[in-house]
């Protein structure tokens, strides 16, 4: 590889050597993996951490007094501390393990929502939310008579902030929004939105799925109340996710699910709950996955999240420059203030055809509505194609994408 493949901020070739899957071929071509917003690939450090756990120290956590259980518990809780540091939490007890961000948001909707909201209360969301931050609130709204409001999205992909004073009412108890759009790439002004919400006494739940893997992230600096994100989008395994919440709020919430590990004392007819964070972690958890996410956090920390952001920004800027000249190609979302992904449409070619055609060249992108149907409706398109970058992607790969897209445009033209 030549110098042009190296980003300024990261030693990409060295990083690539840590990801075994990047060596494989697809349809006889070298894999170009550009579907990172859906799920990232895993470095050998994460795979080894999980493998080592199962080979050497597996036992159930928090229960046994034998050596294996103690080692497993130490590794499991150690991973929690790593994540806590990574997101600037006050302490590990504010970090609740979930299966994914979806479960984290559901936990808030089911536990906090059902115990704190009553008929006539309002929850404010945005038009750009992922289904994971829409559907749990729709279920809650139907059950409790809670009203949902939505911040609209402007044509340039930004939230229309002028509407906020109208939408944030004294009845608004929670403002749930994404730190960054998984379709438009928009980076939302989290601090500004949070301050506005807090002025009317609403809590803030941040869908941080497209932020935590890609940039410096500090829950205390942002002054938010809840954050949800998935481990598998940040080099960790599937089945690992996090709900972070302020401990005083989490303490005032009832458990989400009942069972082992989440209790202090059980009688036949009633029980006392365990303390944070275990109150929200019923049953044997995903131990290997938590340990894997801990290793992923170590990996990202060693790169430096400022560097990760800079490298991705450089790559997506280059990609946007290159693809915008393709005839019929239209980029969605803002020109700047964006994350390392770009969604687009290409004339009348259905995104499924774009993705299938690129796949025949070994290029993996996402096509569809990216679990954000209302947002696609807002922009009047049934589906989009999305290329999303991460730490191991190179300028060469962008060039492969661009030449692939030119072929697609030609192939389907009529």
């Amino acid at each position: 590889m030549i110098a042009s493949t190296s980003s300024v901020a990261l030693d990409v070739q060295r990083i690539r050597a840590d990801f075994p899957i990047l060596q494989r071929e697809v349809k006889g071509k070298r894999l170009v993996y550009l579907d990172n917003a859906a799920s990232s690939q895993k470095p050998i450090q994460v795979l080894d951490a999980m493998d080592r756990y199962y080979r050497e120290t597996h036992a159930n956590v928090h229960r046994g007094v034998h050596t294996l259980s103690e080692e497993a518990t130490t590794a499991y809780e150690g991973a929690r501390a790593k994540v806590s540091n990574f997101i600037g939490a006050c302490c590990p007890k504010e970090v609740i393990w979930t299966r994914n961000a979806t479960e984290a948001i559901n936990l808030v909707a089911y536990s906090w929502g059902r115990s704190h909201l009553k008929q006539g209360d309002r929850v404010l969301l945005t038009e750009m939310e992922h289904h994971a931050n829409l559907v749990p609130w729709q279920i809650l709204a139907a059950e409790k008579g809670v009203e949902l409001d939505f911040v609209r999205v402007a044509d340039n992909g930004a939230l229309i902030l002028d509407d906020l004073p109208k939408l944030l009412t004294p009845k608004t108890k929670l403002f749930g929004f994404s730190a960054a759009s998984n379709v438009l790439g928009t980076l939302n002004p989290v601090k500004e939105l949070t301050q506005a919400a807090h002025k009317v006494g609403a809590l803030v739940l941040l869908d941080a799925c497209q932020a935590v893997p890609h940039m410096p992230f500090d829950v205390q600096d942002l002054d938010i109340d809840f954050a949800a994100f998935s481990g598998h989008k940040m080099l960790g395994p599937t089945g690992s996710g996090v709900l972070w919440g302020r401990r005083e709020i989490l303490n005032a919430m009832p458990p989400f699910m009942g069972g082992g590990d989440m209790i202090r004392e059980v009688k036949l007819r009633q029980s006392k709950w365990n303390e944070l964070p275990w109150k929200f972690e019923a049953g044997t958890p995903a131990i290997a996955e938590a340990i894997g996410l801990g290793a992923a956090v170590d990996y990202l920390s060693s790169l430096g999240m400022e560097n990760v952001y800079a490298a991705e920004h450089e790559l997506v800027t280059y990609a946007m420059e290159q693809i915008q000249d393709i005839e019929g190609l239209k980029i969605l979302g803002p020109r700047d203030r964006r994350t390392g992904l770009v969604s687009f449409i290409l004339g009348n070619v259905h995104p499924h055809d774009i993705a299938a055609a690129l796949d025949s060249l070994g290029i993996a992108i996402r096509a569809g509505h990216h679990c954000a149907q209302p947002l696609h409706e807002r922009f009047g398109v049934p589906a989009t194609a999305r290329a999303s970058f991460y730490i191991y992607n190179t300028r060469d790969e962008v060039d492969v994408l661009v030449s692939g897209l030119r072929k697609v445009a030609e192939y389907f033209s009529f």
Binding site: H350, P382, K407
Partner: protein
């Protein structure tokens, strides 16, 4: 680039029976919200047989080619014969392997045709 068989690409670029009928006997609209594919199928039936057919809508190459090929195929067939069409009939027409994700695209025209023939209510109707 060699992605789809030449015949599929031809049906995609030049779909047969694309448009509307003057007086259709059966009209059925169906969609696959997950991919955004949409089809409106119009059939003219005389003496229990399909005498004309037209479709409109938008979708990927596979769904559009499937609609076009199916339209050519079923003209002249009886309603009873149409009821006998299934997944395999469409895949035979297409003559390609369709993976688990895109099978819904390929089968949307069939779904619309079967619903029209069986007289099913459209989504949202009583």
């Amino acid at each position: 680039m060699d992605l789809y068989a030449e015949e599929i690409l031809d049906h995609y670029k030049h779909p047969r029976h694309f448009g509307h009928l003057d007086e259709p006997t059966l009209v059925y609209h169906d969609r696959n919200p997950l991919c955004g594919d949409e089809i409106t199928l119009e059939l003219k039936i005389e003496d229990g047989k399909v005498v004309d057919i037209a479709f409109t809508g938008h979708g990927c190459a596979i769904s559009r080619a499937a609609a076009s090929m199916m339209s050519e195929e079923i003209i002249g067939k009886s309603l009873d014969e149409l009821k006998g069409y299934d997944k395999e009939s469409i895949l035979d027409l297409l003559g390609i392997e369709v993976g688990p994700v895109r099978i819904k695209c390929a089968l949307l025209p069939l779904k619309a045709m079967k619903a029209a023939v069986w007289g099913l209510a459209e989504e949202g109707e009583e």
